[in-house]
């Protein structure tokens, strides 16, 4: 193997153009595949502050069907509805935490009356139960979150991100400062590290206690089941997810028995994180297999096209080496041995290209993450237009999975592109090989 690598190094030095093109082609292929893989990784894996994705379940939409189903409307849940269908009896057992929240995107600044809001930037605002800090790993730099007591007492508290604290107050430690939002004053109780839009579920600029949602107090029976609240259930382990889903479905059945003129459905919810990425709007999930099929097709195209192209390049390169291979064959080298040699030689080039490609993909993701994330976004409006805070953290890039994937892609690409042309060349008989350049 080492011998082949040495030889390969010699060949690279002898034929810089061929090697250059080969490495560039490989780097391009690897970088595309890796950008795609990294983007999927940061959307799927447990990435801080969404460190608990794999054991989370989301409840977003409730659909109310009237009559024979022609008439329906769909929105989030009222607090009453959530309290009815959430399996609160499992809290402390399979169910570790429950988050109730309302999240408002694209909050425009009320410029005429607000203290200060940056021009052209819209806000994302969370109204949440304090358990939000258990569900998401927010990193508190100053102060702390609001508490259950604050929710009960309807305290006017808020925690904000570091960059927002700087914009509003000119300093990071803004605990104790007062900000005005929608004509109401709130005391800043905590400042957290900025959240990247890549973790779009955890992303926001301001976090208020859920008691600020005006309909939160309506818990009476007979109130609307359709409302503005959503929920995240955090299971103790991943294995507990099905049990929680089952419990929710059972509760929904019970709830439906209370109504004779209408039925409520939640279409596949509570949904796991991975499936939630394929949300196509109001409670409709694309068939995951179909979306995955699309992703696979793209990955296949990303591998196959460069593989065919590199095969062509190798095939042209092989012509000049037929003599050498013929000679070795004449001295008894088997087909497999020769194949191994060429594949190993190309492996060095592929690995060089792969390393370069990985670097390229890293810089691509770091500098253009906002632009690139659209490539793996299946929902309509998950990321905000013109948003800037798509910070990529080192943890998202430098990890075993990404490296393993890169290596694997290199090997597959190498095998795909090298084996076929070599096989063709080796089919020629020795005499032809030896005389090829002497026609």
């Amino acid at each position: 193997m080492i011998k082949y690598f040495k030889q390969s190094w010699q060949l690279i030095r002898q034929n810089p153009l061929f090697s250059g093109v080969y490495i560039a082609g490989t780097a391009l292929a690897i970088s595309m595949v890796m950008v795609y893989s990294i983007l999927w990784y940061v959307r799927v894996a447990d990435v801080a502050p969404e460190s608990n994705r794999s054991r989370s379940l989301y409840l977003n939409y409730l659909k109310e069907n009237q009559g024979n189903g022609d008439n329906w409307r769909s929105s989030a849940f009222s607090r009453y509805a959530l309290e009815k269908i959430l399996p609160m009896e499992l809290l402390g057992q399979e169910l570790e935490h429950v988050l109730l929240y309302q999240k408002n995107d694209r909050q425009k600044a009320d410029k005429a009356y607000s203290l200060f809001l940056p021009q052209g930037i819209s806000l994302t605002v969370y109204y949440a139960t304090p358990s939000i800090c258990d569900v998401f790993d927010y990193q508190f730099l100053h102060g702390d979150s609001f508490t259950e007591e604050d929710v009960t007492a309807r305290a006017n508290k808020v925690f904000i991100t570091r960059s927002y604290a700087r914009k509003l107050f000119g300093k990071e430690d803004a605990v104790g400062e007062v900000l005005t939002y929608q004509f109401k004053e709130y005391v800043v109780c905590g400042v957290i590290a900025d959240v990247s839009q890549i973790t779009s579920q955890a992303y926001a600029n301001l976090w208020f206690p859920i008691s600020e949602v005006s309909s939160y107090d309506q818990t009476e029976a007979g109130t609307w089941l359709i409302g503005g609240l959503k929920s995240i259930l955090l299971a103790r382990t991943k294995a507990d997810l099905p049990k929680l889903q089952e419990a929710v479905h059972l509760n929904l059945k019970k709830l439906n028995r209370e109504y004779s003129d209408r039925t409520f459905t939640i279409a596949g919810q509570p949904v796991e994180h991975f499936r939630s990425l394929f949300n196509r709007g109001v409670g409709e999930w694309e068939e995951v297999s179909e979306s995955l099929y699309q992703v696979m097709l793209i990955l296949l195209a990303l591998l196959l096209v460069p593989a065919v192209n590199l095969s062509g390049v190798i095939a042209s390169g092989m012509e000049s080496r037929l003599e050498e291979l013929g000679l070795r064959k004449a001295f008894g080298a088997s087909k497999m041995e020769l194949m191994g040699q060429v594949v190993a030689e190309n492996l060095l080039l592929t690995l060089l290209g792969g390393g370069l490609g990985l670097l390229l993909s890293y810089s691509g993701v770091v500098f253009f993450s906002g632009w690139l994330l659209q490539l793996v976004s299946y929902t309509n409006s998950e990321f905000l237009m013109n948003a800037t805070d798509f910070t990529v953290t080192p943890g998202m890039l430098f990890n075993g999975w990404i490296f393993l994937a890169a290596l694997l892609v290199c090997l597959v690409l190498n095998l795909l592109s090298a084996s076929l042309p070599v096989w063709f060349s080796l089919r020629k008989n020795i005499v032809d090989s030896l005389t090829v350049n002497k026609k």
Partner: protein, 453 residues
């Protein structure tokens, strides 16, 4: 010459086989990626709006909540709200850059919220079409702001002079064609298929309009709510109920058009700094200003179209770079081997240009062959799958196969255009990839090349 080149290609069929295979794979892959790209770019970027959104701005009107200190109880009634919003409107109209301004509710073009339903011809109830509809106030400069054009005259400025007709509607040409036949719409009546109580009288036919930024032009209808100029008690009373409730529920907007010569960016920042604070009257205030065009772009983005365009563009780019690299490397290596042949050619009088062109034509002929094979493959595939269409969330029906929608909806033009685009971009890459090796070959000194033999 061509015959000679064909022989040449056949002579080195081994290597050309590889390039052919590459071109075939890249041709088919690029075609499949180009197809959605073509449709989406045409629909969202190239097809005409049917009106002029370029210098139009939208003001989001807000109403103070009752629990804030600034809230004034004495202004919290219909009469006062109408006075306050009228004052805001007149202040906007008084700005020197503003050409026209109109009050609207939640739904206007590119507002992000829209209503759609089925309408039918009252006299011929079998004729039904899907319609995106929105409301407008007669005589409020609505057409001077948006510049929807009259289908017959192509003018927008006279439409605001049309007197108020209760339940009068303006429809687009396509809706007219669907329900009444071309040119036969005016004076006819339409009604909802679910609600037969009201019928709406067609008082104007407009040029086709792209009702949603990401989609094709479709059936759009504008419904006259009340007369904005009429101060008689009944009409003014109705207007008061309608518009003051829109203001109080925070979904009223003021849309206005500015002079062509004013720069949009500068106007927005000046407006935010100097004008916005003055637009707070009583409990009414203006939240923010946005250009209609940016709202349209946002709609395209939110529909996921921008993302899909990016995906497809990067894939096309990727395939092209790949093929360029491969062709470059193959031809470069090949020229080394063909030096003697080139030497002979030049010795018998071929010019440098001849040599270069021969290589270029060789590669383009290979592309032609790959394209023929690719099209045969694609036709099999498309027979089952069909070409790409983007119709998600569509409300108004599409215009059909006339201009410009035919570029997408007519399968022959669609296929032809996509194929042409693919051939053009791959051809460009081939020329790019072959040019350098071919020029190098053309610089060969025949004597040297022949001596090497």
């Amino acid at each position: 010459m061509i015959k000679k080149i064909f022989k040449q290609i056949w002579a080195s069929k081994g290597e050309n086989g590889w390039i052919f295979a590459e071109l075939l794979v890249v041709f088919v892959a690029t075609w499949l990626v180009m197809d959605p790209l073509y449709t989406l770019v045409c629909q969202s970027k190239l097809f005409p709006y049917g009106f002029e959104p370029e210098k139009v701005f939208c003001l989001e009107v807000g109403y103070l909540p009752s629990n804030v200190p600034k809230f004034r109880v004495e202004n919290d009634n219909q009469e006062a709200v109408m006075q306050d919003i009228s004052l805001v409107l007149s202040r906007v109209r008084a700005l020197p850059q503003v050409l026209a301004a109109t009050p609207v509710g939640a739904e206007f073009i590119y507002s992000g919220s829209f209503s759609g339903t089925k309408f039918r011809n009252v006299r011929d109830t079998a004729k039904i079409t899907n319609v995106q509809y929105m409301q407008m106030y007669c005589g409020s400069d609505y057409f001077k702001v948006f510049r929807f054009r009259d289908a017959a005259t192509g003018r927008y400025d006279l439409l605001d002079e049309i007197p108020y007709v209760p339940n009068g509607v303006f429809i687009t040409e396509y809706m007219e064609e669907q329900l009444f036949g071309k040119g036969k719409g005016i004076g006819q009546e339409v009604q909802l298929t679910q609600n037969l109580l009201n019928s709406y009288k067609v008082i104007g036919v407009l040029e086709n309009v792209k009702g949603q930024a990401a989609l094709q032009q479709g059936s759009v209808m504008f419904w006259m709510q009340t007369d904005y100029r009429d101060t008689s008690k009944m009409v003014a009373g109705l207007r008061k109920v309608l518009y003051s409730s829109a203001v109080k529920s925070n979904y009223a907007h003021i849309i206005f058009r500015i002079d062509e010569k004013v720069d949009n960016e500068i106007f927005i920042s000046d407006f935010q700094r100097d004008v916005l604070p003055q637009l707070a009257v009583g409990n009414v205030y203006v939240k923010d200003i946005a250009s209609l065009q940016s709202m349209g772009e946002e709609q395209v983005y939110e529909k996921g179209v921008t993302g899909k365009i990016r995906t497809q563009t990067s894939l096309v780019f990727f395939f092209l770079v790949n093929i360029a690299l491969a062709v470059f490397a193959t031809f470069w290596l090949r020229i080394k081997k063909r030096r003697s042949e080139i030497g002979v050619l030049m010795a018998v009088g071929a010019s440098r240009k001849n040599i270069r062109n021969q290589l270029l034509i060789e590669s383009l002929l290979l592309l032609g062959a790959a394209a023929v094979a690719g099209i045969i493959l694609l036709l099999q595939l498309l027979y089952f799958k069909g070409m790409y269409t983007y119709e998600e969330g569509r409300i108004g029906e599409v215009v059909g196969s006339g201009w410009p929608a035919g570029f997408i909806n007519n399968p022959f033009i669609h296929f032809g255009m996509v194929t042409l685009l693919v051939l053009l971009v791959i051809g460009a890459m081939l020329v790019l990839g072959t040019w350098l090796p071919a020029s190098k070959a053309a610089r060969t000194e025949p004597a040297v090349a022949l001596k090497e033999e």
